[in-house]
């Protein structure tokens, strides 16, 4: 119980308090402590990437074992993951490895790696294509759902239409000062609302941080109740 609950709470409290105090002490010792903790954090983050890979693999293996709907997609995910890891380790990420240059003598130190080839010619077009589909859904929504049903909806519709047309050069054909109108909308009414949201969010973040440091907020420990 102590190791699972009290100890993490004490560590969070100690580290949180120490980092706040450290911020106000410009002594070399304090700076060294700060720098060392940043190094630790980077190492810990690197391990979280491994956990992410382990979790992905485990989830897809479970799907394949249970033959859930579209389990074939999981096979594709795991195969793609395996190939990418293999190609990356064997061929290098941004510069070709010595092994690759030995296997393929025409590969030079400045050549592109197979991993970059996979990234630029497979992942990039696939991801860009999926995102570009959004433009078509938006067109359908513009035609079917974006209706002036109430005063609020009308205001939103008018403002959005002005910004939509004013953020492209063709807007100037309709009204020469359209870019200035859009800048005004973004600089005043939109920014006023954004500021209100930002202040609220940041106050919430400060409150949550204090609650974690003081041990009131314990959700990050996991374990449900």
């Amino acid at each position: 119980m102590f190791l699972k609950k009290q100890l993490p709470l004490l560590v969070a409290m100690f580290m949180g308090t120490m980092m706040i105090i450290q911020f106000f002490i410009p002594h070399p010792f304090s700076k060294n402590v700060y720098s060392t903790i940043l190094d630790w954090l980077m190492i810990v983050t690197a391990f979280t990437l491994l956990i992410a890979v382990q979790s992905t693999v485990q989830m897809h293996i479970t799907k394949i074992r249970r033959k859930v709907t579209d389990w074939q997609s999981s096979v594709i995910v795991l195969t793609a993951l395996g190939i990418t890891v293999f190609v990356g380790i064997l061929g290098g990420a941004y510069a070709p490895t010595n092994i690759l240059m030995k296997i393929f003598p025409n590969v030079q130190p400045g050549s592109d790696t197979p991993l970059m080839y996979l990234y630029i010619y497979f992942q990039t077009p696939m991801q860009a294509t999926i995102f570009s589909l959004l433009a078509f859904y938006m067109a359908s929504a513009a035609f079917r759902a974006f209706r002036a049903r109430s005063f609020d909806a009308t205001m939103l519709l008018i403002t959005a239409s002005i910004v939509t047309i004013g953020r492209v050069p063709i807007g100037q054909f309709f009204y020469a000062n359209m870019p200035e109108v859009v800048e005004w909308i973004l600089n005043y009414p939109s920014m006023a609302a954004q500021r209100g949201i930002l202040i609220g969010v940041n106050l919430g973040m400060i409150a949550t941080s204090l609650k974690i440091i003081l041990g009131i907020e314990r959700g990050y420990l996991g374990g449900g109740k």
């Binding site: 720098s35 078509f136 035609f143 974006f146 002036a148 870019p179 954004q194």
Partner: protein, 288 residues
């Protein structure tokens, strides 16, 4: 009349997709070449890089996006690098996420090739004039650590070369040695740069973001935490227009060409909204 209204109201959405596709593809085949006004957030960034960074100065570009938003953000990076090359400013690229480092590598290959082809008297070399830091996990932690020790944060460039061995690294140790940085991202990682690099280490910075995210960052422009912003493809196209105006580039580039398609696409959206609302009001009147 009501027959047409009813037909349009229940039109198969594939017709809508087709109209949009034609509207977007057409300008690529027959360019319109719309004139473009330069907005203050873009001209501020351009003028700062042009006038305030000395020759041999250092600029950092963080490529924190993935292929889903590269249509908007990639041209920004290329335009910024081209501008830096023309002013003989050293450029460092980095990525806080692995996809960004891959895209930064692509950006370097393209810009180096294009620049060296059109400027044989001012050849730029990887490691001397431009470099890509190795990927280090940690996001905010990496930003903070760079404020203490850049060499200790990355150790090597993305190609495995020791940073100490690179000529481009001469005199570059912390944010104090970086004249300007621009974060290119379509996510809230920009806030991390503003909070940690600018807030804690006073790093002078600009923002390059997607059109849909730019409204979020006007507050930081207004407060002076960022001095310039490239918003969406239009921001990139405006920057390219400034490069052409100042004889840094000769031809219209990716963003400027894409603006015609985006103009046509946006106009199509507006027509859809108007037609959709006309149908809605006619039907509502009829129902009453």
């Amino acid at each position: 009349m009501m027959k047409i209204i009813n037909y349009l109201d229940h039109i198969d959405k594939r017709w809508i997709y087709l109209v949009l596709a034609i509207a977007v593809i057409f300008p690529f085949l027959f360019p319109i070449g719309c004139p473009m006004k330069i907005t203050p957030p873009v001209s501020n960034m351009y003028n700062y890089i042009n006038d305030s960074i000395p020759e041999g100065g250092v600029m950092l570009v963080s490529v924190d996006y993935d292929p889903s938003t590269m249509a908007e953000l990639h041209p920004m990076g290329k335009a910024l690098i081209t501008h830096c090359f023309s002013k003989n400013i050293r450029v460092f690229l980095m990525g806080l996420y692995p996809p960004g480092v891959g895209l930064a590598q692509d950006m370097i290959s393209n810009t180096l090739e294009e620049w060296n082809k059109s400027n044989p008297d001012n050849i730029k070399i990887l490691g001397n004039d431009i470099s890509l830091f190795a990927f280090v996990p940690g996001v905010s932690v990496v930003i903070l650590k760079m404020g203490e020790d850049i060499r200790g944060t990355f150790n090597t460039d993305a190609y495995g070369n020791d940073l100490d061995s690179l000529p481009i690294m001469a005199g570059v140790n912390t944010y104090n040695d970086i004249d300007y940085m621009v974060d290119l991202a379509g996510s809230s990682v920009i806030l991390s740069w503003i909070i940690y690099a600018n807030g804690r280490y006073n790093q002078k910075m600009g923002i390059g973001t997607t059109a849909v995210s730019m409204a979020e960052y006007y507050a930081y422009l207004n407060s002076g935490q960022a001095n310039g912003m490239l918003g969406g493809l239009k921001g990139a196209a405006e920057y390219e227009a400034l490069l052409i105006k100042n004889n840094v580039s000769q031809d219209r580039n990716q963003a400027s060409i894409g603006m015609d398609a985006q103009s046509s696409g946006h106009l199509t959206y507006i027509i859809f909204i108007i037609v959709g609302n006309i149908i809605y009001f006619i039907k509502r009147k009829k129902e009453k």
